[in-house]
Amino acid sequence: MKNYIKYLKLVLGIIVLITFEAFAAPNNSPAVTVGFIMKAVQTVDYREFNNTDWEDAKIGTTLKSGDEVKTGLRSLAIIKFKDNSLLRVREKSLVTIFGDQQRKKVDKNTEIKSGTLGFDVTKQSGEEFKFTTPTMVASIKGTSGYFKVIDSKTFLFLESGIIEIESTVGVKEKVTLTAGNTATVGMDGIVLVSKASADDYSESEAVKSTKTTRVLIRTSSDEEYILEYLEK
């Protein structure tokens, strides 16, 4: 009988714990889907929020708030958001996607830890679209361009639209960047704005390029593999 009572106490205890956990869990509720992998060429991995293991990212892999995406050598990931905004994550890059949805509005933030990222952001109506790098935060309303983050220095080229940028280190400057200009922010927080050069435009085109070549490899045992690589 005592055993039954012990068992009952144990079950009740577990129920109470689960119930407590359930009521205390809002901060851990499943994150909303923010976007998905539209294209993955060569080595593209993703890691879910709070997970330690990296997994292969495939076309159609959904991304929730807090998920990370990284690309390998000569690799490319295209991420599409629910509002049709698009990111091109170029080779050797690491980004984290954040999103907070309230009814029909989603505030998005993409943290670029390293690498190069092209963006094509649709017009944001009452929503936020931010990019965060180790040295700056950029707020976007609907523009295109690309970021490059190397050794804690951020380079931004703006092809169209306007971006509000703010350095988050050092002197913490605020600058409004207009189309056709570039901004460079180092660890000192100084925002250096200059007119985009022909090389910047040329690199912008290269960042946009997602053309690939596909090669069919047939083995002696008649197995087929498709190898897809980015064209130079």
Partner: protein, 804 residues
């Protein structure tokens, strides 16, 4: 008093037919009746997007060509283009620039081999009403469904296809999990991943599920009660992939072949028609290859070409097209007319060069009807003929048609996104030695320029174009010498109203480009009679589109590359279109004022004024869409009617036109799509001719979806016109159904369509479609067309279509 009674009767008539239509709410109205046109099918008309038009013919034996004329609601001038005839159908499209809410007016002109013509609907040029296509607003805005991929008209392989749909912007009433996804009417929803308001489907996970070719992706949203809320559709193409070798670039292609054989029995004459058609699209890297061939037993020496051949290769900066082509340059110079030859373009952005060279019409030899030996009879169709061949010096002839060649060159500067300045040169000439029996070979030279510039992300757009032409109405005598010019223009008899020195100057300037003689027109270019120009400013702000246009077209302006322009007219046109209440309410107001007699070649100047207004309401809820329109047309030339001679030229008339349309998708026990349209007009002629008139066209249509395999169609149309006491009244009923007996294998369609009243006709159509393979379709068609107390005609045909 009499007018009041007439008005009351008219209103009672309208109410009666609306009531009758509503009582028959399982019914529908067809269009007008024709001995040649069976029906006109149009693709769904979305504001700003082009509309495909297919004219189904009852017979095509005597038809030389079919022209479609279309205009926005509110425009007075129609734009015309020739349809491509392929067997028992003729196809073309209305460009998106002419597709505006609420409706597009259109009619067809069928020209026959003997030169006569008729319109569809009938009697357009004597007050008849054109047909209308209802234009819907952009579903992107209305439905809130965002199709993220594939893109519209994208071409990709099956393993590249990722269907991604976002419901982020859709209505709060949408139940995301109830959304259905279709590819070509096949429900693929069970294979779709639902991630909150993001829906994903990857074709590579279901290999072989989508065959190569064109496909339609359809997304339908529902509310929690299962009521359909909105639909979004796009087309895309799946390419079949062929690996040429492990190291080569992939070449993808799609090809269609179609063969048709049919027998027409018309007025006891039995004729067989056979057609073959093939089309090809291929892609290699950036290069796109296209080819089309249409070969028909209708190809005859005595008519313009019916066969069609076309091949092209293009990439982003180069395009070369061979065969039958419809090049588009300036609207004033060459715009959509068939040219058999070569066209090409080099597009570098800052500098572009486009050119076309080929045949506008091919030669058709004339014939001697009656030789007239030893006769000196005069007549417009009596000419000298070869006595060795015909045994007479003169003969009554039927004139042939010269081969007419054309050359166009257009260099332009700027990509056209924000700026483009272009210059166009067109030269066209009849080949005199192409036929023996012909009259007045002609030549035409046109020079033009066009400009487009935009600002503030194309919210401000300025366009302008101008052209001047010179035409020789008869080049058979060749270019005049200076002494001949002095004789003809400076002699005592003074045959022609022009200064000989002016003519010599013209000869020095344009003599290297065009034959200069007494038939050159105009001889006084400084009067601007051969000048045409148009300028428009468009402002797009706050969901309001305002466009003001000024146009001028001289009395003698003529381009052989553009046969459809209205000449001798100048004036302005202002159009304002507003979108209100989150794109639920559309207001449209147009005012146009044009005047003719620009070169004082007429006894008086007529002013044409048009006011068009319309309100369209798209509630998006479970209510009908409604459009109400009113138009007023006034023509007045202000002649003094007290002068006796002026009476016959006096113009003073006004026409009021009213339009009411309802379209409604509703659920009874099954799903129905209903449409009701009432168009009425009344013309008042205030001159002594009193050619007053009125007409009324009422249409009601109902499509009922009994199951996924059975759809029924029901139409009823009533048409009543009375012009100058000529009354024309008829009713057409049309009942039909389409039934999939074996899904994806066998399908039947049946339609019965009798007409009563002043038009008595009965038509019966039966169609069987059998899918022998996924990519092989065989269609058997039977049509019986009966005119009571006159004839019973039939068409039986078989068509096969094979897609690779």
């Amino acid at each position: 008093m009499k007018r009041n009674i007439e008005s009351k009767i008219k209103i009672k008539n309208i109410l009666f037919f609306i009531a009758a239509a509503l009582i028959f709410l399982n019914g529908n109205i067809t269009a007008q009746f024709s001995n040649y046109v069976s029906s006109v099918e149009t693709s769904e008309a979305i504001d700003g997007e082009s509309v495909d038009v297919t004219v189904n013919l009852l017979q095509n034996a005597n038809i030389a060509k079919i022209i479609i004329a279309y205009r926005n609601f509110g425009a007075t001038e129609y734009t015309e283009s020739e349809l491509v005839m392929t067997g028992l159908s003729a196809k073309g499209f209305i460009p998106g620039s002419h597709v505006k809410i609420p409706v597009v007016d259109y009619f067809l002109t069928l020209t026959f081999l003997d030169g006569s013509y008729e319109t569809f609907p009938e009697k357009i040029f004597s007050g008849g009403l054109p047909s209308q296509i209802i234009v819907k607003q952009d579903e992107d805005i209305e439905s809130g469904i965002l199709i993220l991929s594939p893109e519209k008209n994208e071409e990709l392989t099956e393993d590249e296809l990722l269907v991604s749909i976002s419901l982020l912007r859709s209505s709060k009433f949408v139940a995301n999990s109830a959304t259905k996804i279709f590819i070509d009417n096949n429900d693929i929803t069970e294979n779709v991943l639902f991630a909150d308001d993001l829906l994903l489907y990857r074709a590579a996970n279901f290999p072989g599920s989508i065959s190569p070719g064109k496909h339609v992706l359809k997304v339908v949203t529902f509310d929690n009660l299962g009521k359909e809320l909105s639909t979004e559709k796009i087309e895309f193409t799946i390419k079949s992939t062929r690996i040429l070798s492990s190291a080569e670039t992939v070449f993808t292609y799609n090809a269609d072949f179609r063969g048709e054989s049919r027998n027409e029995n018309y007025n006891s004459n039995s004729t067989w028609f056979n057609n073959l058609m093939g089309s090809f699209i291929g892609r290699l890297d950036d290069w796109k290859f296209k080819g089309r061939v249409y070969v028909t037993s209708e190809e005859k020496k005595y008519r313009q070409p019916q066969n069609r051949y076309f091949a092209s290769v293009e990439n982003e900066w180069l395009k070369v097209e061979l065969g039958d082509n419809f090049p588009r340059y300036s609207k004033l110079i060459l715009d959509g007319k068939r040219v058999r030859g070569i066209s090409g373009g080099l597009y570098l952005g800052f500098l572009n060069l486009e050119s076309s060279y080929g045949q506008l019409t091919r030669s058709i030899e004339g014939r001697v009807i009656t030789p007239l030996p030893n006769s000196d009879t005069l007549g417009t169709n009596i000419i000298p003929i070869d006595p060795n061949k015909y045994g007479a010096d003169l003969g009554v002839v039927s004139f042939g048609k010269y081969e007419r060649d054309l050359t166009v060159i257009r260099p332009s500067f700027g990509s056209g996104e924000k700026f483009q300045l272009g210059f166009t040169y067109l030269h066209s000439k009849d080949k005199m030695n192409s036929i023996d029996i012909g009259t007045s070979p002609q030549e035409n030279l046109v020079l033009g320029t066009d400009l487009m510039t935009s600002a503030d992300d194309r919210r401000i757009i300025l366009t302008a174009e101008a052209a001047i032409n010179i035409t020789n109405e008869d080049i058979s005598t060749g270019t005049l010498t200076d002494s001949e010019i002095d004789t003809l223009f400076g002699g005592q008899d003074n045959f022609f109203d022009a200064d000989p020195e002016d003519v010599k100057n013209i000869k020095n300037i344009v003599g290297n480009f065009i034959t200069v003689n007494q038939f050159l027109n105009p001889l006084n270019p400084h009067k601007l009679s051969s000048f045409a120009a148009e300028a428009a400013l468009e402002l797009n702000y706050f969901d309001n589109s305002l466009k003001a246009t000024y146009l001028y077209r001289g009395n003698d302006f003529r381009s052989f590359g553009q046969s459809f322009l209205r000449n001798d007219v100048a004036g302005f046109n202002i159009v304002d279109r507003m979108k209100l209440i989150q794109n639920k309410l559309f207001l449209s107001v147009t005012y146009e004022r044009l005047q003719d007699n620009l070169q004082k070649t007429k006894i008086s100047t007529t002013t044409y004024q048009t006011l068009n207004t319309s309100i369209s309401f798209y509630p998006r809820a479970d209510l009908p869409n409604v459009t109400v329109g009113y138009s007023r047309f006034e023509n007045f030339n202000g002649l003094d009617t007290r002068k006796i001679d002026n009476g016959m030229y006096y113009v003073d008339e006004g026409t009021d036109k009213y339009l009411i349309q309802f379209s409604y998708n509703f659920d009874g026990t099954i799903r129905h799509n209903a449409y009701l349209s009432v168009v009425a007009s009344e013309k008042k002629d205030y001159t002594s001719r009193r050619s007053d008139g009125h007409n009324l066209s009422t249409s009601l249509m109902l499509n009922s979806n009994w199951s996924s395999d059975l759809i029924s169609f029901f139409n009823i149309t009533y048409y009543n016109s009375d012009y100058s006491n000529i009354i024309y009244r008829y009713t057409t009923l049309s009942v039909g159904a389409r039934y999939k007996a074996i899904p994806n294998k066998l399908e039947f369609s049946l339609n019965i369509s009798p007409s009563f009243g002043d038009l008595e006709r009965q038509a019966f159509d039966f169609l069987t479609t059998y899918y022998a393979l996924n990519n092989l379709r065989i269609v058997l068609q039977a049509r019986i067309f009966r005119i009571p107390d006159s004839s019973t005609n039939s068409i039986i045909g078989i068509t096969s279509q094979w897609n690779i």
